[in-house]
């Protein structure tokens, strides 16, 4: 991710791309859950996000697309402040969650992360039992009664469409599950602590088409209750599952709009070139 801007030049992609600076019209969003305003981020001296302004709608699926190194994962990781783990990261501009600044001094990062869950590119279940994986977050946040935990685990696994497959082996190691099951377990783990937002960082990139289809179906169900933000490499996936799509390129937000509109009638030349596969 570091040095991304310098790594990917348009020339290298073999296509002449005009960077036109005219603003693309932002979609009108009623009650944004997350908003960024002129958000810039540096890894050391490398600019990774350049003045990004967008709003994430509630209980919808918002997809970030763009070529590798465009900053879409970095942007996603701003929302739960996971970028804090990297010492050299510096953030500028505003980032709000229900209107409250995420980087404000009174923000408890642990509480924030409990409300904004995350699913990673590579499934990362803990080397514990299936039950303990799902119960982990609840235990962290003080739930200790076994019966309550069992309830939560069942509900979360059902919500992640995994219950039927694992209900007989909750005490087995989570590492014995298949890749797709592990990823759904990670989703179950995230929703066990009832977050408002779930960030998904290329959740299907390591999965086969059938497992991918299951996750996509699951995302459609989850958006009834949660706000989903998904980073994806796969434009078809963005087109299939998301309600809104943001196209990022070289750390800048090129175009953001309703998915149906963006894929059919992109307003920027770069967007059109990307979604038609002329580079990426």
């Amino acid at each position: 991710m570091r040095g991304a801007i310098t790594r990917l030049s348009p020339k290298a992609a073999g296509v002449e791309i005009l960077m036109d600076d005219a603003e693309a019209p932002a979609p009108h969003i009623d009650k944004p859950v997350l908003t960024t305003e002129q958000l810039s981020l540096w890894y050391g001296s490398t600019l990774a996000l350049d003045a990004i302004t967008l709003e994430i709608p509630e209980k919808k699926i918002t997809a970030f697309i763009g070529p590798s190194g465009c900053g879409k994962s970095t942007l996603l990781r701003c929302f739960n402040r996971l970028n804090d783990l990297i010492d050299v990261v510096r953030v500028d501009g505003a980032l709000r969650f229900h209107g409250v600044s995420l980087y404000g001094p009174e923000v408890d990062v642990s509480q924030l992360r409990a409300r904004i869950g995350m699913v990673f590119q590579k499934s990362n279940p803990f080397p514990k039992s299936i039950f303990e994986n799902v119960a982990y977050g609840c235990r962290i946040h003080g739930v200790t009664r076994r019966s309550t935990l069992a309830e939560i685990v069942e509900r979360s696994l059902r919500a992640a469409a995994l219950w039927e497959e694992v209900k007989d082996r909750l005490d087995a190691s989570a590492l014995g599950l298949s890749g797709g099951q592990q990823q759904r377990l990670c989703i179950a783990r995230a929703i066990a602590i009832e977050p408002e937002v779930i960030l998904l960082d290329e959740p299907c990139s390591a999965l086969d088409p059938i497992a991918t289809a299951k996750i996509e179906e699951l995302m459609q169900e989850l958006k009834e209750r949660y706000t989903l933000v998904v980073v994806t490499h796969n434009m078809q996936q963005a087109a299939r599952v998301s309600d809104y799509t943001a196209f990022l390129y070289l750390g800048r937000l090129i175009e953001y709009g309703e998915t149906a509109r963006l894929f059919v009638k992109p307003q920027k030349k770069q967007t059109e070139d990307y979604i038609t596969g002329r580079f990426g």
């Binding site: 739960n80 996971l82 279940p125 803990f126």
Partner: protein, 544 residues
């Protein structure tokens, strides 16, 4: 097809590496083989030969080795050889071993009634059992009558010996311990400032208690005297090959063996019994006989204490260095310092342990908590606590380095998974990172254990002794006596092999003890490895 030059070099390198490995393996196997053959054969009873020499001497002994006598080099001289014979009877002949020229030997035989008597004192007796007496009266005479009775008596005496020892170490030991405590309490009372009435009251209580213990002491001492006189009531008249007669109390004979009439089963039984005595018994005759149990116990306990001290220290330090400290010049310096600490000669740690732990910390503890015992130091002298702390200091770099590596091997994504669920850094560390790093930590502990168990030099100045009067754990409150000195297998090897008054007799003991030390190290490592493998399975991170 012609071999390319690079291929040839590759082949050569492969052979070189394989050859080096094979050489290493050979050396290790050779070492173990030597220790095993020399150490394990010690317990096997050799036949007892009756040698008749040209000058009329008769010698009863076990043949140990034959060697060529160094010659002046003249060609016409025939090669002469001599044999080393264990003749026993240290009290008569002065030494256990003798070199005898083969040319001098005119007759050799293996008389079936020749006996080896293992005695509590003066080593083995080689000779013939002639008569059993009790209070001057003959009980049995002649081989056929003596041996059955002797075997029975020896079994009885073994029980009596155990009972005596239990009485001396148990009851008498307890009383002595109590008396010592009372003496110290009295002394402490005289150091305290108290109102006169209170002082008198306490002094009276103390002297009452003292009188009680004293009475108990007299009682037990009388019982011991009585048992002792019964213990030496029966005597065995023995005769050496040369016809010198001796009368031995049967109680002082540990075992009576007729090696030439033993048979294989009897020899095997004897072998096991001796091996067991070696492992479980206490040393006798300035460590050249008996067992080495106190040394095994001291080694294991010292290593265990060391692990208890080193594990938390090393792990916490490594966690701070790897997880909390921001990388910088200081952290790099600390890391370099830690790595260099591992290269400091161990005797330096010993000197530090003596100066810091024993004199400074121990001395201070004595002044604060044990003033009544001064000038006799309690903690202000070497002891198992200070020895294990010194070794903990010596091994902490190993644990830090291994733990750091273990922590570094935990994938970042595992941490992120936990943090993204709202866990704090500490919760992540405790619930995810440390369990996943546990195998690495244990690897460090294994290395530390191996190093600590084999270390001798620093211990010699912080509490290891040639012969410890009591184990660091016993039945007297508070049961664990961390201030006590202890014995150690490594030092025992040195002591038996090089400081012993009877080097020839002690030589096989050196091998046997070395073998046992290796076994102890191996066993402790094996346990740690099993635990580590279990943890590896439990916290396998193969999918991450």
């Amino acid at each position: 097809m012609p071999l390319r030059r690079s291929d040839l070099v590759g082949h050569l390198m492969t052979w070189l590496c394989a050859g080096t490995l094979a050489l290493n393996l050979l050396l290790i196997l050779g070492l173990l083989g030597l220790l095993a053959s020399e150490g394990l054969s010690y317990f096997w009873q050799k036949p007892l030969w009756l040698l008749e020499l040209a000058d009329g001497q008769k010698i009863l002994g076990e043949l140990y080795e034959t060697e060529d006598i160094p010659q002046s080099g003249r060609a016409d001289e025939a090669q002469k050889t001599r044999v080393r014979v264990k003749v026993g009877n240290r009290d008569i002949s002065g030494s256990d071993f003798r070199w005898i020229d083969e040319a001098q030997i005119v007759g050799r035989s293996r008389p079936a009634d020749a006996a080896v008597l293992e005695r509590l004192e003066w080593g083995n007796f080689h000779g013939f059992a002639r008569e059993l007496r009790a209070h001057g009266q003959t009980l049995a005479r002649g081989e056929d009558a003596v041996w059955p009775l002797l075997d029975r008596l020896l079994r009885e005496k073994a029980k009596e010996r155990d009972a005596l020892e239990a009485l001396e170490k148990g009851e008498l030991g307890r009383i002595n311990y109590a008396l010592e405590r009372l003496r110290l309490a009295e002394r402490k009372l005289s150091l305290e400032t108290l109102p006169d009435a209170e002082r008198t009251r306490r002094a009276e209580a103390l002297s009452r208690e003292q009188a009680e213990q004293q009475a108990a002491y007299t009682n037990v001492a009388a019982r011991i005297r009585e048992k002792r006189s019964a213990f030496v009531a029966e005597t065995l008249v023995v005769e050496t090959a040369d016809g010198v007669q001796r009368e031995l109390p049967v109680g002082y004979v540990m075992r009576a063996i007729r090696p030439n009439a033993l048979g294989f089963a009897g020899a095997a039984k004897l072998y096991l019994s001796r091996a067991w005595e070696f492992i479980s018994g206490e040393p006798r005759e300035s460590n050249t006989e008996g067992g080495i149990f106190p040394a095994i116990f001291g080694t294991v306990m010292m290593v265990l204490l060391m692990s208890i001290f080193v594990a938390p220290f090393g792990v916490i330090a490594a966690v701070y260095l790897r997880e909390y400290a921001k990388g910088g010049v200081l952290v790099r310096l600390v890391r370099i310092a830690v790595n260099n600490l591992a290269g400091v000669p161990s005797i330096v740690f010993g000197v530090f342990g003596l100066g810091f732990f024993v004199y400074l910390v121990g001395g201070t503890i004595d002044q604060l908590f044990y003033p009544e015992a001064l000038p006799t130091p309690t903690f202000g002298t070497g002891g198992i606590l200070w020895a294990s702390l010194t070794l903990a200091l010596l091994t902490v770099p190993v644990v830090i380095v291994a733990t750091e590596e273990g922590l570094a091997a935990v994938p970042q994504i595992a941490r992120e998974g936990s943090l993204a669920l709202g866990a704090t850094q500490f919760e992540t560390l405790w619930r995810v990172v440390l369990p996943a790093a546990a195998p690495g930590i244990l690897t460090g502990m294994i290395l530390a254990l191996a190093r600590a168990a084999g270390e001798v030099a620093p211990l010699m100045i912080v509490g290891m002794v040639k012969l410890a009067p009591a184990l660091p754990v016993d039945g007297n409150f508070p049961y664990l006596h961390l201030e006590r000195k202890f014995m150690h297998l490594g030092f025992h090897i040195y002591d038996v092999g090089f400081q012993s008054p009877n080097v020839e007799a002690a030589k096989p003991l050196v091998f046997a003890t070395a073998l046992l030390l290796i076994a102890v190290v191996l066993a402790s490592n094996l346990i740690a490895i099993l635990v580590r493998n279990h943890l590896r399975e439990k916290y396998a991170t193969r999918s991450i």
